[in-house]
């Protein structure tokens, strides 16, 4: 059984009360998340990450497609009994104290008074807010609200935790604390499904990621594999090559940079490495190295993927306004 299963999920939003035009926020998205996995949902603002979270929580309704959590369809209230959720930029009740708020959250989850007291105490300790249990939330800093948000998401000891931009707006210390909490949850066998546009966090935490852009799934898989398979170009370095060698390689359309005796040629990722090497050696050049140029970080990868699809996304946004609700 999948922790989260999403099939062809699509969401169109109407553009205005009287308008019949729609904007497609999520476009036939399908993916699965295994139990115990830390799954990252990546994408720029407006990619559809929050829409997906809201669909999973039944806060909005899909135009088409379906999804399930721990085998239960989204409409089933029992699916949410084993689920925890931290909204993006959480805002809770100003008039409640942290302990009162956790008590309320626990009550909504069906915990009895004794369980609620125990759980509140335990969670406030865990997120480092035990000293602020009696403080009204209007006096909380953003980091404290975020940590309390995580505490309320864990009040029912859920199996699946949805975190919408959990590091957003936090200082480095706050991010570190949230990161440690996520790792702690993973150690306890929880499934974490979180959205972020802070890529180093995804790199540090995720087993697998899905890259969303313009509501579409662009990539899905193991983070290391995604980065490994992303060869951007081929780099050939020659030592003081004769002019005929550069002429022989001109057919490969290289970008040439000279640095003293060394000449660096950057070739397209699709170039035939064997042919390049043969041409260079045949023309009498001394080859120093021939290497694939890979992306070094998820950030590089992410930017290149988003830029690749940018023109297409713009066109689609215009055409999608004519789409109807299914």
């Amino acid at each position: 059984m999948w922790a989260v299963e999403i099939n062809e999920l699509t969401k169109d939003y109407r553009l205005g009360f009287w308008s019949k035009k729609h904007k497609r926020a999520l476009d036939h998205l399908s993916l699965t998340v295994e139990p115990g996995e830390v799954f990252g949902l990546l994408g720029p603002n407006g990619a559809g990450k929050t829409t997906l979270m809201k669909l999973l929580l039944r806060l909005t309704f899909p135009t088409a497609g379906s999804a399930s959590i721990l085998g239960r369809p989204l409409g089933d209230v029992r699916a949410r009994a084993r689920l925890g959720y931290l909204p993006e930029n959480p805002y809770f009740y100003d008039h409640l104290t942290a302990a009162e708020f956790l008590n309320y959250a626990g009550w909504l989850c069906g915990l009895d008074a004794v369980e609620r007291r125990q759980r509140s105490h335990e969670l406030l300790e865990r997120v480092g807010l035990s000293g602020s249990a009696g403080v009204p939330m209007r006096r909380f800093s953003k980091g404290m609200v975020q940590r309390l948000g995580i505490a309320q998401a864990l009040v029912n000891d859920p199996d699946v935790v949805l975190l919408d931009e959990p590091m957003s707006g936090l200082d480095p210390l706050g991010r570190r604390q949230v990161r440690d909490l996520v790792l702690d949850l993973r150690r306890n066998g929880k499934t974490i499904f979180f959205s972020t546009h802070i890529l180093p966090d995804a790199e540090a935490l995720c087993d697998r990621v899905a890259v969303l852009n313009g509501g579409r799934l662009q990539d899905l898989g193991n983070l290391q594999e995604i980065l490994r398979s992303s060869v951007q170009s081929i780099e050939l370095v020659l030592h003081d090559p004769p002019p005929q060698a550069l002429a022989a390689l001109a057919g490969f359309n290289p970008t040439v940079t000279r640095n003293g005796d060394r000449v660096r040629l950057e070739l397209s990722a699709n170039a035939d490495a064997d042919a390049v090497l043969k041409a260079a050696l045949g023309a009498g050049a001394r080859v120093v190295s021939l290497n694939p140029v890979k992306l070094f970080s998820l950030e590089d990868y992410f930017l290149s993927r988003v830029q690749e699809s940018a023109p297409r996304s713009t066109e689609e946004k215009v055409s999608s306004t004519e789409a109807g609700l299914g």
Binding site: V77, R80, P90, Y93, H95, A105, W107, L108, C109, G110
Partner: protein
């Protein structure tokens, strides 16, 4: 049921921590207290004037509390997105609406009880003692509570669909029209047009009849209404409220929370 209770208790806590509530209750108490001055200048009818003023204060300030807290009940949770937190728990949307409703009704019941205590204190100050006959206003206060239950139902319905300002306008308009239904019916009966008569009769049947709960004047004169009327008014309030809550739930169940 447990979750409805959780939301109701939370709503009650939220309401009693609203400053506007205390302002309204203080004003209501001042108005009830003013009955002593009015009573002293109303020769021979001081007690009637005092009961009239006291019950009117309970009714008017109860209405203001019901409208001004009721209209923002759901809207505030949606706007501030605190609702996301509630609905991410195993809570059905219907449970949320019912919890909000009962929470505000509980607030109104407690406020009405406080204002009633203030009213009887003033009455005691005026008369020097209270007798069994002085219990007649309690019936009027019971009708006021029934009326407020209906007002909260109307305010909650509009709160799920529109902004607080619009909800206030709609709720207060409906309250005013609902108090004029017997006049509308009378106007229809006297009209020569069968179509207008039919239309006004239909309108008076569909809209909530707030005028039916007006019992202040008879109570001021120590008159009690018949037991069957108390029962029929209670049934009307409960049934109409059930219809309003069902409509609110139906709308809210289909609402996309963007």
């Amino acid at each position: 049921m447990n979750r409805i209770a959780a939301i109701a208790v939370h709503t009650f806590k939220e309401s009693v921590r609203e400053r506007v509530l205390y302002t309204l209750v203080v004003f209501a108490m001042l108005m009830i207290g003013a009955g002593l001055i009015l009573g002293s200048v109303s020769v021979g009818i001081n007690e009637i004037a005092l009961v009239n003023l006291g019950l009117s204060a309970i009714s008017i300030f109860g209405l203001l509390i019901a409208v001004f807290i009721g209209i923002s009940l759901v809207w505030k949770e949606v706007e501030r997105r605190t609702l996301y937190n509630v609905l991410s728990k195993p809570v059905a949307r219907a449970e949320f609406i019912l919890g909000k409703y009962f929470g505000l009704v509980l607030t109104l019941a407690v406020n009405t009880a406080v204002m009633t205590a203030g009213f009887y204190l003033v009455l005691w100050c005026e008369k020097g003692r209270l007798t069994a006959a002085d219990l007649a206003p309690l019936e009027a206060i019971y009708f006021i509570l029934l009326e407020l239950m209906l007002v909260v139902g109307v305010a909650l319905l509009f709160s799920t669909m529109s902004s607080p300002a619009l909800s206030a306008v709609f709720t207060l308009s409906l309250y005013v029209i609902g108090n004029l239904l017997s006049d509308l019916r009378g106007f229809g009966e006297q009209s020569g047009s069968a179509a207008l008569r039919g239309l006004l009769r239909a309108v008076s049947l569909v809209l909530p009849d707030f005028g039916a709960f007006s019992d202040i004047a008879p109570a001021a004169h120590g008159e009690l209404v018949a037991g069957w009327q108390v029962l029929s008014h209670s049934l009307y309030a409960v049934l109409y409220t059930a219809i309003l809550l069902s409509a609110t739930i139906l709308i809210f169940e289909r609402r996309d929370l963007r």
